[in-house]
Each structure stands twice: as C-alpha cells, then as structure tokens.
C-alpha cells in the first residue's frame, strides 16, 4: 500500500527537485544531512552529556587508580626482573678512521658528555661506601649515592687520553647495566667481553676485572635516589695493525652472578653485541 502514496509524490509533484544535493541540505524540510537544526542540536546535546559522563567516569577511575600507586616503587617489577646491558657510545656499529678526528669525534664527544655526571666535582658530594657490600638504606628518609669517580676508568676516563684511545686505534667502550629498582645481584658480577673470532683479542677492563661493585646496589628509584649514578665498566680494545680494516664482532656479558645473560628472545638481557671497525 505504501507504494501508492510514495509513487505520485516522487514522480508527479516535483520530479527534478529531489537531487543528491537534498541529501546534504534539503531546503523544503530544512534538513541538513538528514536532520533538522533542532534535531541536530538535540542529538549533539545528548552526545555531549553522554561523553561528558563517560569522560568523567574515566577520569574518576584513572584518579582512583593513580591513588593506589606508590610514588617510589612501581607496583610490579616482574617485567624488568633482570637488567639489560647497554654500551656507550650509543651505537652498535663503531666504525671510524683513527687518523680522521672528524669521524671519531662524535664518539668521543658522546663519551665525554656521558661521563660529565661522573666528574669529581659531582662525585665528591657522594658517599664513600664499603667496598663489596650492598649499600642498603631502606629505613633512611634520604637515600645516599655511592661515589663512582671518573678516574676509576683510568685510560678510558678521558682524563689522560681525551680521545678515549680512538686516535691510537685502541677504542674504549663503556658498558653500563640498566637501572632496576631494588636489584641486588648475587655473587660477584663482572663484565666479560669476547671477540667473535678464532684468536683472542687483547682487552683491558677498568675497574680491574670489569667488576661492578655491590655497593652501587640497590637502586631506590628516580624520586628518592635522584643523583644515583650507575657503576660502569670500560673495555679498552687493544687492536693491533692486523685488526684494522676488519670488522670485529664483540659480545659483552655479565657473568659471575645470578643475572640472566642468555635469554633467547631478549638479546640485550645481561649481554650486548656490537661491531667495531677501525680504518687506517
């Protein structure tokens, strides 16, 4: 039956007027995209109230959730149970010509910048802690930081050799362990680097044997421990003439402790692999 009413209306009265323009604005009914102004106002008001309420509820739940968080310790630390290893300079491909300061300049600059926080002027404010013991200060209001002076890194400190050995073709690489709140590595963690080739590569570790001292653990978080500096291990690769122009793959691992260093999925958990190529 409905067709009876519709057909004459569509064909008879105004055959030309119903065009596609009407679907955007229909002057006869005053409809804009299928709704009148009043209808639009109502529906927009409805959605305004609706989303307003939702946003309010979202804000409330977020606020409640944030209230439950501790400022100093994350609720869970299971995703970062074991620390990753990172090297400085921040590059996994260290390629340079030892005769061209422009090429190694960026590495040197980077190392120099990185070591600023280990300057004596900064570190002298920090505590001298007991070697070989965790520096636990759970009950203290203000957490103190153990001293790690730049000169502990000797030839790699950039103090005596401002080019960190890059100019002489025996570059230094700093190995750093990721900060994890509350981490207390058992055993005696030290860094061991190996070159992936048949004959072993001569290396020097600073501090000696590449040890991370226990006194730098545990870490109490950004808030309480704002001036904390991580212990570093510098590795000086004693490259010889034969090694130049060859790419060398190095792997550094943390060993001698319970820290994981052989995870299948995470290639940076307790270990780091990088390549070095010195051109002459």
């Amino acid at each position: 039956m409905s067709t009876k009413e519709e057909t004459p209306a569509a064909d008879g009265d105004k055959p030309q007027t119903s065009s596609w323009k009407d679907s955007i604005y229909n002057p006869r009914t005053g409809e804009f995209i299928g709704r009148t102004a009043k209808s639009w106002a109502l529906i927009l008001l409805f959605y305004l109230v609706f989303y307003g309420f939702l946003a309010g509820m979202f804000t409330l739940t977020m606020w409640v959730m944030l209230q439950t968080l501790d400022d100093n310790i994350p609720t869970y630390r299971d995703r970062v149970a074991s620390p990753g290893l990172v090297i400085r300079p921040r590059s996994l491909d260290i390629v340079f010509n030892r005769t061209d300061p422009k090429q190694y300049g960026q590495y040197v600059q980077h190392l120099e910048n990185f070591l600023q926080q280990y300057n004596d002027t900064v570190q002298e404010k920090n505590e001298l802690c007991m070697v070989g013991e965790y520096y636990e200060q759970d009950d203290q209001e203000e957490k103190k930081v153990c001293q790690f002076k730049r000169n502990l890194l000797r030839q790699c400190s950039g103090l005596s050799d401002t080019t960190f050995g890059y100019a002489e073709g025996k570059p230094c690489v700093l190995v750093k362990m990721n900060r994890i709140i509350g981490l207390k590595p058992r055993g005696d963690p030290y860094i061991n680097c190996t070159a992936k080739r048949e004959s072993p590569l001569q290396m020097q570790y600073f501090p000696s044997e590449g040890r991370f001292d226990k006194m730098y653990f545990p870490y109490y978080g950004k808030n309480l421990h704002s001036t904390y500096v991580q212990p570093l291990v510098a590795v000086k690769l004693l490259l010889t003439k034969e090694d130049y122009n060859n790419e060398l793959t190095m792997e550094c691992k943390i060993e001698g402790s319970d820290l994981r260093n052989s995870d299948d999925r995470d290639k940076f958990l307790g270990r780091v692999t990088f390549r070095v190529k010195v051109v002459e």
Binding site: M1, S2, T3, K4, P15, S18, S19, W20, L42, I43, F46, Y47, F50, Y51, L54, M57, F58, T61, M62, M65, L66, L69, N72, I73, P74, T75, Y76, R77, R79, V80, P83, G84, L85, V86, L92, K176, N178, R179, I180, I181, Y219, G221, K222, N223, H225, Y228, D263, R265, D266, K267, F268, L269, V272
Partner: protein
C-alpha cells in the same frame, strides 16, 4: 542520483521483458511449425510397424536422449570464487596484500618483528578462505538435498519398432516412435494420439488442472495445449489405452520448454542478501574512509609512507567485522535446520529470512490448500442436505445414516461405480488406499467403503450384468449398470444410474423419501433445484443417483442386455438423492490462513479450477473472509449493473484466466491494490502468458515480497521469479523443485506459517547478532586512532583483534540466534523492506557511538592501569611511541627511573594487548546480555532462559583464560598471563553498559514515539 538509477533500472527491466516476450512468442510459432511437420511425418511410423531400429538409432544420434537436461549450473569453481569475492572479503584481500608488501619491505631491511605482518597476512587469507569454504559447504549441502529428490529409477516405455513391441528406456525414445500408453503410465514424450480407447490423462503436473482430460485422435483445436490429440511428456495416463507417435522429445517437449523458460527468468536477490550487501557496503566504505583519513593524518604528522600503509591495513583489520559473515551464515543455517525439522527444506539459506518478510503468498490451490483428492462433501436425500466428513483422518462428525433412503443411495453409489482398490492394501486406512478410477468414482468408492464396508465383496453380492459407462465422445453424461439382487429368491434385476443431476431427474418419475417411493411432484422438483443450486454454489461437483427394479416378467433371468442397443428401461426411475464432491481443504489450512492474516500477509489463490469452485474453497479456508463481497455480489445484491458498482467497495475479487489475459499490467496492479482478497481461477498454462508469473510480477511492482507455492512444471517460472519459491515435496515436479528456494516436505500450507515465524525471528535475532558483532569494532579501532594521534604505545594488536573477531566472540553472537521472540511476532505486519532495514542508522549509532564508546573507555582504563602499575604513568605514555618502538634503544626510562630493554617493553606491550582484550571481553559479556532484548527488560526476558547463550558466555571466558594463561601464548598470539585484578578493572564499565541499556529500554517502553524511542530504538 537515486532518480537516475531508478530510470536506468526501469529501462533495463523493460528491455529484459521485451526480450522475454520475443522469445516466448518465437517459441509458440516454433511449436506450431513442429506440429505441422509431424502431420506429414505420420506415415513413416504408421501401420503398426513403427520405426526401424536403425532409423531410431539415427534419430537418437541427431536429437539426443529423451530427457530433460538439468539447467546448466554455475561451475563449482565459480561458486567457490564467488564466496571469496564479497565486499568484506575484497577488503580483507587488500589488507592481506598490504601486509605482504610491508613484510617484503621490512624483511629486506632486516627489521625485527616483521614476521608479524606475514602471520597477519596469512591469518587474513585463512579467514577469507575458511569463511568461503563454510559458505560453499552450506550451498553444496542444500544442493545435495535437492539432488536426492531426483527419481533415479529409469522410466520405461512400450515402443513399437520393426513391428515388434519392446519395453525400452524412455530415454531412448526418438521422434517418430510409435508408443503405447495405458492407465497408470507416465507419458514418456510429447505424443500425438492416433488411437485411443477411454484414455484419460492427468495434466496437473503441467497445467495445475486437477480435472482429467480425455485424449482422442481428433484434432479439436489449433493450440497444441488445448487439442485433444496430443498428450504431454510427464503427464500421467489415468485410465484407458492409447497409441501415438512421438512428436517431441527431451528439452523440445512442452514441459522442457517451460522448464527452460524458468531458467531464463532471473533469480531475484533475496531481501536479506540486499540487507547484508547494504550494510557491508557501508562498513567497507567506512573502513576505507577511516583508513584513508588516518593514512593522510599519519603522513601529515610525519610518519613514513610504509608506516602509514601499515596503519591503513591495521585500521581495516580493526574495523572490518571478520567474523560477521560466518555468524550470519551459521545463524541462517541453524534456522534452516530448525525448519527442516518442521518439514521445510531450504535450498538457499537466505530464503529463511525472505519468508519472514513475505507480504504476499500466491498459493496454488490443488494439493497445497486442498488435500488433492475428491471427497464426498454433501448428500441430499429425504429433502435434507447432509454434510459428510471431509477431514483427512475421518475424525469429523458423520450424518445420520438410519434412513432407508440413505441405504438405497449408498447402494446406487457403490454399484454404479467402476473404480476398484488396488489389491493388498487392507492394512492401510481407507482414505490412503490407492484406487484405479477417476476422481469422482474414487471419492464415491472410498465414501461407500467407509459407510457400508467392504465394497468389493458387496459388489460380488450384486452381480453386475451389464454396464454403460460415461462416454465423453457421444456426450453421454450418464452411467448405468444392471445388477442381480443379493437375495437369490428375488429374481428382479436392479438398474442403477448416476450422472448429471438434471439429466437424472429427467428420467425419474418417483423419488425416495424416508424409504418410501413418492411420485415426483412439483414440490420435490423445486426442492431438488434448490439443493442442486446450493451444492453447486459451494463449488462442488454434484451427481444425481437413481435406480429401478426392472420388471421380473419383462426382464427375466438370462435376458440379454445390450449396452449399445439399450434394450431396457431407462426412464421412469426412482430418484435416490444427490451426492456432491469437492477436493476439500486441508484441516490445518484455515487456521494457517488466519495466522497469515493476523501477520499481515495476504494470501492470493491461483488455480486452474473453475471460478465457483475456486471461490468456494477460498471462502472455506478464509482467503475470502465472511462478509466479503465481489463486485458481482454487490451488483446482485443492489440489483444494479456490474459497471455501476464502486470497485473499491468490493473486498474480494475473483479473476479468471480469460479476464487476466485481457488485462493490462496497470489494470492488474490496480485490481491487486483495491481488492485485498484475490482469487485467480481457471488460469491457463499457456507459456506466453504464464498467469502466476504475471501475478508475481504485479505484486512485486507494488513493492510486496512475494512467496509462491507450486508443484507443476508450469509453476516453475513463477517460483523462480518470486522472492521465495516454495515447491511441494510430495506432489512437486523436479522442475518446480529446481526452481524453488524452499521445499515443503509435507505439502502442507501450514508449514509455511511456521516458516514465516522462523523467518521473522531470525531477522530480529540477526539484528541483535549484528549489533553485538559491530559494537566491538569501535574498541578495536580506537586504540589505533589514539596510537596514531597521541603516540601512546600500541594498546591492541592486529592478531589480538582477530582472536576477538574469530574466536571468542563467534559463539556468543551465534547464540543470539537461539533467543526467543520478544513479542508475538506473528501479530505484526511484515517488515517494509524499504524502511525496516536490518542495520539501520540508530543500530549503528547505538552500537558504535554509545556501547562501543563505553567499551573503548573500559579498554583504555585497563590499559593505563596495566601500564601505570608496571611503571609507566599515563602522562609519560603520551608521545612515547617513537622511543618505545625504537629497536636500538635498550635503556628507556620509565616513570620510576628503571631502564627497559626493547624486548622487555615488547612484552609489556603484549600485556597491554591482553588487558585490552580482556576489557573488550568483559564488556562484550555485558553486551551480549543487553542484546538479548531490544525493547523488553532483560528481567522480563529471563537471564538464563537461553541456555546456549549462557554456555557461550562460559565458553568465551574459558577461551579468554586459555589465551591468557596457556604457556607459549606470548610468542604465538602475543597474549601474556595477566594479573587477576586487571580482569576486574573493566567491570564497572560492564555494569554501566547493562544499566544504561536497561534505562534505554525503559524509556523506549514507557514513551513510544518519543525522541528517545526514535533515536535509541534500533
């Protein structure tokens, strides 16, 4: 734009129509030519010799076997390919290709994690292929159901070749063959009769006429369909014998032509297919729109081209409801299964819903509305009309049988009857036994068998001496027989006679009243006239019965009665009574028609029978309601000429085939529009004007969704043309079944009503199911939008989305198909296919912008909670993306100063995926609960009444747990074992969804028609 489309459409249709007409007319001409040719050829096989075997083989070589070739199906690979190339599927193909490209580029660059793209591409392709296989399997299965109907027993034909009679396979018949047919045979080809003896043919499979047609060698009409000397392939010979030459075989027979006509009629798209296409278009359009917009935004913000492409792909994956097609198919097949249990087999799944939106049913009378067997309906004796029991199982009331007149009438009816039961059927109930004989004699035999008892034995007692049968050639409308009496002492002969009532009355001089012979006075003649008219107006076939005891002296024992000479008394008989017969309606039909009426469905009757019979049956089953008048009725009542009657006053209208032929299509539309109760009678089966086809087309022009029931080959074009063609499983011809979308196994009209109910229910439930499925697309999409614009670490991954779409949410969305109806759906009008869409604006808006929005908020709350509790405060997350995803950054600091490697961050990201997933799941549980009803409160509908839904929720939770906590999941599907409390974070939002929807429903119920109802009821 729409206007233009409309015009083009109309033009196209017109063109099509012209073509069809041309073809039809061409066909008719061809037919005439064929019959002329065969007149000349007749000498070849005449003279009882037939064709020589070699000649027959030659012709067989030329013409091919005599069988109807099944209509050329679409090749299987095309069917399968079609399943893979829908709107959504195409979009997913595009997404898969982008994934492959991205994988290729990233792989060549050696980027970590590029295999994700490869897996995603493979998953997408798998989804498309598996869904396609499922759809294909469904289609294949229903095709198989049809194939099983085919009669595999080869038909035999008695052919005369080389002067010898041979029983051969009907397939091997050729033009020119001489064949013999006898009662009970199927006519093996189109045959011109050259010799016939009392041959009657049932043409109902071809024309729908239930009346048997006698066949004689005379050519009585130029139209091959009307002439008496041609018998058609696939019709049945009821009695007598005939010999004829084959004039057409195989697809060239009339029935073959009609069948091929059916395959020429385009199959209309089902309404549900239109609906699904409609909204798939919208979704695909929106997906591309969103994808493209954010592609541009991403490019603008400064992402690389490849990254932007991957965003585009991810948005497509997030936005396209991958599981939807499978859900729809499963829901429909569940209903199809349910219907099959109720004797409706659905060939085309989508037809399930079509039945629900049907607004007109064009029903064949014979066999669908009626029982398809003549039954004694009324008797007139002792000046009273008695009603007989016409129910199928003889459960009705019987009349008073104590009168002496009744005994005489029954005796005449029983004796003057040539029909006999086929032997060995004693165990069957009488109405079901097979009888050899014509319809009215069969009816009388069964009636007397029921009333008196064993008729075969009864006839033995009254030994038949002579009989003069009906003979249509010499217009003898009477049948008489002479019997000895059962009492051996009584030596009189009894002459019994039946026939057209007025002719019987002419020969009578007395009438039996209460067992007494009374002179046939004027008063009785008037009473007879009244009764005869009354019964005639009921559309019943009336027969008169009379008898006489022949004078013992004039006709002693051993008298030679001669049936040709008629050397005995045939006048001055004693009138016993009238018996009227009708093909009575099935018991369940009036109720079913009533239900259709309350459901707003018009039932139009189309029949080959006489208009009066048609009208009587229509009135009987309620197609024409009490008090409805036709134009003619009004004219008679008001005593004015038919032309002066206002046509709109007449509710009912009976149109005969002749009138229909003369009507223009506009007139027919007008008639269908102005008379709600329509009956089309005496529709001739002539192919060029196939009446059901015209009627269907007219209804469709008026915007109705038309269901057509039919069984004959002549119905197949209309079955095909109809939105849903329903063929009869028992009486239906293969051609009809092939053309139909649905088959009624029990031939019962009432099953259609069940189908309508199920169809409407599935439409409602599909709506709910789709609303449920669409909702989660928003919480799947928003993470990407936020990720791109606000640069937080990605909250939800593509694989997780696919897990939601294809694993956890499939079962709940299917379980909504088991939901009971909210209201009495059979009291509503059929949906208006233009206005009541499956997916309408308010459904989309409510799902996307309201429930979907709440779900998104739930997801983000849980996401930020999981991030914050692991050390990443919400504000830090904003803008973190580039650092977070930097593969070379192995010491990214969180809010507490801890340093994370890339892999540690990645697992944290997987944790986020998982909590977002869990949030969507929790909200979807609330969602499936609210989708149970659209209007009623869930407390009214019952929480646990839908057991399937409850188990679906349990299943969903179990699957969610499995994905989260099964070892190995992090690296396969990127699911992490998450902390228990993160399951509870989204619960407030779940409760909000539930409460909000209850408020919505309350508003909809309390204030129908209000702004709230209009905007929020879907």
């Amino acid at each position: 734009m729409f206007e233009m489309n409309g015009e083009v459409d109309v033009k196209m249709k017109k063109k099509k129509k012209i073509k069809k007409k041309d073809r039809l007319e061409g066909m008719k001409k061809e037919m005439d030519i064929v019959s002329v040719i065969h007149k000349t050829r007749r000498r070849e096989s005449w003279r009882e010799y037939g064709l020589t075997s070699s000649k027959a083989a030659e012709v067989l070589e030329r013409d091919g076997p005599n069988e109807l070739l099944p209509p050329k199906g679409t090749p299987e690979y095309v069917k399968f390919a079609r399943q893979l190339a829908g709107g959504l599927q195409c979009l997913m193909w595009v997404a898969a290709v982008i994934c492959f490209i991205a994988f290729g580029i990233e792989f060549s660059r050696g980027t970590l994690g590029c295999f994700d793209d490869l897996y995603l591409a493979i998953t997408l392709i798998t989804v498309v292929v598996v869904t396609g296989c499922f759809g294909y399997y469904q289609e294949f299965k229903s095709t198989n159901i049809i194939a099983s109907f085919k009669n595999l027993v080869p038909q035999q034909a008695l052919v005369i070749r080389d002067g010898q009679k041979n029983q051969i396979n009907a397939m091997d018949l050729v033009v020119g063959d001489l064949v013999e047919i006898k009662g009970g045979d199927r006519v093996p080809a189109d045959i011109r009769i050259i010799f016939a003896q009392g041959c009657k043919v049932d043409n109902s499979s071809l024309t729908g006429e239930s009346e048997p047609q006698s066949k004689t060698p005379e050519c009585t009409h130029e139209n091959p369909l009307e002439t008496k000397n041609i018998a058609f392939f696939s019709t049945t010979c009821l009695e007598g014998v005939a010999t004829g030459t084959v004039i057409n075989t195989g697809d060239r027979t009339i029935i073959g032509r009609i069948a091929s006509l059916a395959s020429g009629v385009g199959n209309e798209k089902t309404p549900i297919a239109i609906e699904i296409e409609h909204f798939v278009d919208i979704i695909a359009g929106l997906a591309i729109f969103f994808g493209f917009t954010f592609f541009v935004v991403a490019m603008f913000i400064g992402y690389a081209f490849l990254e932007a492409m991957i965003f585009f792909m991810a948005i497509v994956v997030a936005y396209v409801p991958e599981g939807l097609l499978a859900t729809v198919t499963v829901c429909l097949s569940l209903t199809a299964k349910r219907l099959a249990r109720k004797n409706c087999v659905v060939k085309n799944l989508e037809a399930v819903e079509t039945l629900g939106s049907t607004s007109v049913i064009c029903s064949d009378k014979t066999g669908t509305l009626t029982q398809n067997r003549m039954t004694v309906a009324h008797l007139w004796f002792d000046n009273v009309i008695h009603a007989a029991d016409t129910t199928e199982d003889q459960s009705g009331q019987s009349f008073d049988q104590s009168s002496e007149t009744w005994r005489s009438l029954a005796r005449v009816a029983g004796l003057c009857n040539r029909a006999i039961f086929k032997p060995n059927q004693e165990s069957l109930p009488i109405p079901r036994r097979i009888v050899v004989g014509d319809a009215s004699e069969t009816a009388l035999l069964k009636f007397t068998e029921l009333a008196i008892g064993n008729m075969m034995e009864y006839r033995e007692r009254f030994k038949k001496v002579v009989e003069v049968p009906f003979n249509s050639t010499n217009k003898n409308t009477l049948m008489l027989s002479v019997h000895e009496l059962e009492d051996p002492m009584d030596l009189r002969y009894l002459l019994v006679m039946k026939g057209a009532p007025e002719r019987i009355l002419e020969r009578c001089s007395t009438i039996l009243i209460k067992g007494q012979e009374m002179p046939l006075e004027e008063q009785w003649r008037e009473a007879f006239q009244t009764a005869y008219m009354d019964l005639g107006s009921l559309g019943e076939r009336v027969l008169g019965f009379c008898h006489i005891y022949l004078n013992e002296n004039e006709f002693p024992r051993g008298y030679k009665f001669d049936s040709d000479e008629m050397n005995f008394t045939t006048s001055g008989l004693c009138f016993a009574g009238l018996i009227s017969m009708i093909d009575p309606p099935r018991a369940t039909v009036p109720d079913a028609v009533m239900k259709c009426r309350t459901a707003g469905i018009r039932v139009v009757m189309v029949t080959g029978d006489h208009p009066i019979t048609a009208r009587a049956i229509a009135a009987n089953v309620g197609i024409i309601t009490e008090g409805s008048e036709t134009v003619e009725d009004i004219a008679t009542r008001k005593r004015i000429p038919v032309e002066q009657v206002n046509r709109r006053d007449a509710r009912a209208c009976v149109i005969s085939g002749g009138q229909l032929k003369d009507m223009s299509s506009e007139e027919l539309d007008e008639a269908l529009r102005s008379h709600p109760e329509m009956v089309f009678a005496r529709t001739s089966p002539q192919p060029p004007s196939s009446p059901p086809l015209i009627i269907v087309e007219s209804c469709q022009r008026l915007g109705s969704i038309v269901a057509v029931t039919g069984d004959g080959v002549n119905d197949s074009p209309a079955l095909k043309k109809a939105d849903i063609g329903i063929a009869m499983g028992i009486a239906g011809s293969d051609a009809a079944k092939n053309a139909a979308d649905m088959i009624l196994l029990d031939d019962n009209f009432a099953s259609i009503v069940t189908g309508v109910e199920q169809g409407r229910l599935i439409f409602d439930n599909l709506k709910k199911s789709i609303a449920y499925t669409l909702t989660k697309n928003i919480p799947e999409l928003t993470p990407y939008l936020i990720y791109i614009t606000v640069s937080v670490p990605l909250p939800l991954g593509c694989i997780t989305i696919l897990m939601i779409e294809l694993a956890t949410d499939i079962f709940p969305s299917v379980s909504l198909a088991y939901e009971k109806a909210e209201s009495d759906i059979m009291h509503l009008k059929p949906r208006n296919p233009r206005k009541d869409r499956l997916v309408n604006e308010s459904l989309a808006a409510y799902s996307y912008f309201q429930i979907g929005a709440i779900q998104s908020f739930a997801g983000f709350t849980d996401y930020f909670t999981a991030m914050a509790q692991e050390g990443w405060y919400p504000l830090l997350c904003v803008g973190l993306r580039s650092h977070w995803e930097n593969v070379h950054l192995q010491d990214l600091q969180d809010s507490y100063g801890q340093e994370w490697t890339y892999a540690q961050r990645l697992y944290q990201q997987y944790t986020c995926y998982t909590v977002f997933f869990i949030s969507i799941e929790i909200c979807q549980i609330a969602d499936v609960l609210i989708r149970k009803t659209r209007r009623l409160s869930i407390f009214q509908q019952g929480f646990f009444r839908n057991k399937v839904l409850v188990s679906a929720i349990v299943f969903q939770l179990l699957l969610g747990n499995l994905l989260c906590y099964c070892p190995g999941m992090p690296n396969i599907f990127n699911f992490m074992p998450i902390r228990g409390q993160w399951w509870f974070v989204p619960i407030p939002y779940g409760i909000l969804i539930f409460v909000y929807d209850e408020i919505r429903k309350l508003g909809v119920r309390r204030h129908p028609g209000s702004w709230w109802d209009q905007e929020l009821y879907y």
